[in-house]
């Protein structure tokens, strides 16, 4: 190691103070996993505690031993096999050609099963489960007319990776084994490597998208593809220009500013203009509110008046591609409720600069208005500011390391401090508020 000599001189005890951090921020000490390991012991459970890290390498055997123990533990953890108990094994089959096109209306077929249900299977689906069982299919997959569940590539890969699905190569690729053998019994299981090779890159699934998908899925969120998933999908209304759509109401554009100035000049209460006298004009002022209103000279941006944009009218990667639902929402695959979060996935190696204001505002305009609501928000101005009027989550993936950033459209101008009963009346209340908030 580079500092070995230096360290030998200095001695071995260099203490590093441990800063409390998000566990997932750091490289984990896999020794902690040892007690969860398959080949040693399965009885104990509970979250392991993090070990102490050293400041730098030194030539002691002790340190070498600890390090090799850590590495061994990591090796063991990574070598854990994916096993399927025959009792609850779910077998799926890879279909590189995708689902068969929905047949033209075929009455008489499929008696006994609800025919209309799930008639539309996404053309991107490429893995099917003939006999689905288990709770995973409640929020994943689409059933076709025959009751066969079709999985999108990210769903199939996620399930395989967590050891809940056994995907088989189709006999069309590997060839059947013996004529008498039934397909499911003798087909070759797909390895994790094969699944990545075949499924990543299918139907717009990049590795970054999959990383974000599976990291949210692991901690319980339900996820569906947003209409913007397909990069080339454009808004259907072609004659609409690429720029802003027609605003719902006249915003605080140039005309709006002119209008407000006009109003201000014409204000019957005012007796003078700025050029000649004080900003608020001469005369008797009976309330502070009036005075403050007159002092509000700077035009501000009202997000509620911003134009609504078609989600498809944005450019990748700054477009919403995933809809995310909190774990406790009950989800019907056929009728998805409005999502709790909208996520855009950005790879740092493709987009090396931070997004420009036009990119960000286009992205925000493509999300629905979500004004701060609820009792807490009513009471607390800082929560209102934090929440904003529109919001979107950027998942920034830097070579496998994901950061989630929540971007919100904040309206400072809408918070009239001079009117509010809840405004800061006493001394400063702090409120070190950030526009970008890391989740």
């Amino acid at each position: 190691m580079a500092d070995a000599d230096e360290d030998a001189v200095r001695g071995t005890t260099v203490e590093a103070t441990q800063i409390e951090t998000d566990l997932s921020d750091e490289t984990q000490d896999f020794r902690l996993l040892n007690h969860l390991n398959f080949l040693t012991d399965t009885s104990s459970s509970g979250l392991p505690r993090r070990g102490e890290k050293d400041f730098e390498p030194n030539p002691t055997e002790f340190q070498a031993d600890v390090l090799s123990a850590s590495r061994q533990a990591m090796h063991n953890a990574l070598a854990h096999p994916r096993l399927h108990n025959p009792k609850n094994q779910v077998i799926a089959i890879y279909a590189p050609e995708g689902p068969p096109p929905p047949p033209a209306v075929t009455p008489g077929q499929d008696t006994g099963k609800p025919v209309a249900r799930g008639a539309s299977v996404s053309p991107d689906a490429c893995v099917y489960v003939p006999t689905p069982k288990g709770q995973h299919f409640k929020s994943m997959g689409q059933a076709d007319r025959k009751g066969v569940i079709w999985l999108l590539p990210e769903e199939a890969l996620y399930l395989l990776e967590r050891g809940s699905l056994d995907i088989r190569w189709p006999t069309s690729i590997t060839g059947g084994i013996g004529e008498e053998g039934c397909e499911e019994e003798l087909s070759i299981p797909m390895s994790l490597q094969a699944a990545y090779a075949c499924l990543i890159g299918r139907g717009g699934l990049t590795l970054e998208r999959f990383t974000v998908y599976s990291s949210l899925k692991r901690i319980g969120y339900a996820i569906s593809r947003a209409p913007g998933w397909n990069d080339s999908a454009k808004a259907e209304d072609e004659d609409r220009p690429d720029a802003y759509t027609q605003p719902l109401k006249r915003g605080a554009g140039l005309a709006g500013i002119l209008g407000s100035i006009f109003n201000w000049i014409n204000d019957p209460k005012s007796t003078s203009s700025t050029a000649a006298g004080p900003v608020i004009g001469y005369g008797i002022h009976r309330s502070y509110a009036d005075i403050y209103k007159k002092l509000a000279l700077i035009p501000w941006y009202d997000p509620t008046l911003a134009p609504q944009r078609d989600p498809l009218n944005t450019t990748a990667p700054y477009r919403v591609i995933l809809h995310v639902y909190k774990p406790n929402t009950s989800i019907k695959k056929s009728a998805l409720p409005p999502p709790d979060f909208r996520i855009a996935v950005i790879s740092t190696r493709e987009a090396t600069t931070i997004p420009t204001l036009p990119q960000l505002s286009a992205l925000l305009e493509s999300t629905p208005l979500d004004p701060p609501q609820g009792e807490k928000m009513e009471r607390n101005m800082y929560m209102r500011l934090r929440h904003g009027y529109r919001n979107v989550i950027l998942a920034v993936v830097d070579q496998g390391v994901t950061s989630f950033l929540r971007i919100a459209d904040v309206a400072f101008g809408k918070e009239r401090l001079y009117e509010g009963v809840n405004g800061p009346t006493g001394p400063k209340k702090g409120g070190n508020f950030k526009k970008k908030k890391k989740r």
């Binding site: 800063i19 299981p189 590795l207 830097d398």
Partner: protein, 322 residues
Amino acid sequence: MESTPTLPIPISYVSGRYLLFSVDAVTYLRREHNICGVLIGTLPQIPQQNVFLGLPLELMPEEARVLVDKDVACIVDEAKAHDGMRSLLEEDRRQYLRDLESQGQLAMRILADRKDQQREQSLKEIDEKKAKGLAAKAAKAAKAAADAQVAPESSPAPTEKEEPNSIFAGEDGTSSLSRTTGISTPAPQQALGITPTTSYPPLPHPVSASSQYLPKPEVPLSYPLFAHLHSRGYFLSPGLRFGCQYVAYPGDPLRFHSHFVVVSAEWDQEMDLMDIVNGGRLGTGVKKGFLLGGPQKRRDEVESEADRVDTVRTFSIEWAGM
């Protein structure tokens, strides 16, 4: 664990990214070549968390390039390699399935053994508890008797207490044995299904076909600084989350804190002074040095990236007045 996989190690090129699937390759590269990568997969044993992740391991293009330049690894187009599934010989296929089957049976046996052990253990515990309860009762009775017989007799009570205990234990030992043998005769015929991690086998090892290697990975302008620090024994990982390009660790990140937040620049690149101030404050704020560096030659001045690596100079900036 101290095994060396066959070199060069095939790095899977999947949809523009560099991945490793073999656990032996991952540990080997970490141990011998200071390459950590980022684990991005789900661990099947604890799938519902994001703290510990599993295979595959994603490598930065820089990491893949360093390994390829050292002839330790080669890049394999995984999608193309898996077309080989179409041309598997029937014999290999059968052999592979047989291997999987026997592995599955082995796993089943291990699991069954473990279950037996656990059952025995818990039965023993229950029996012990029972025995203790009985012993306590006996002791109480003895004590009551002793109390009735007044003080001098109280000392032999403990020995008396031990006796029934041992008798009970012996009895229960045999009984529990018979119980376990009675129930546990698992059918060893049934094998667990296995999802293998890598595809080699059944596919032939790609190293044998060197003509199919992909060209060296394309690397960003910061590559020389990466290669320079790596050659000095640093472990580097992607650093955007910490506000830099790379985080540099003096040893394996498993055991050591990082020392530098690293940002690369071209030699004659104009920099905003504020960026240096920011970097310095950021680094100092997290008890690390802000390391700024880059090669003194531009790409068009040299023949290969390797020549740039030799000209790298580095500067460490620390915020002193805090």
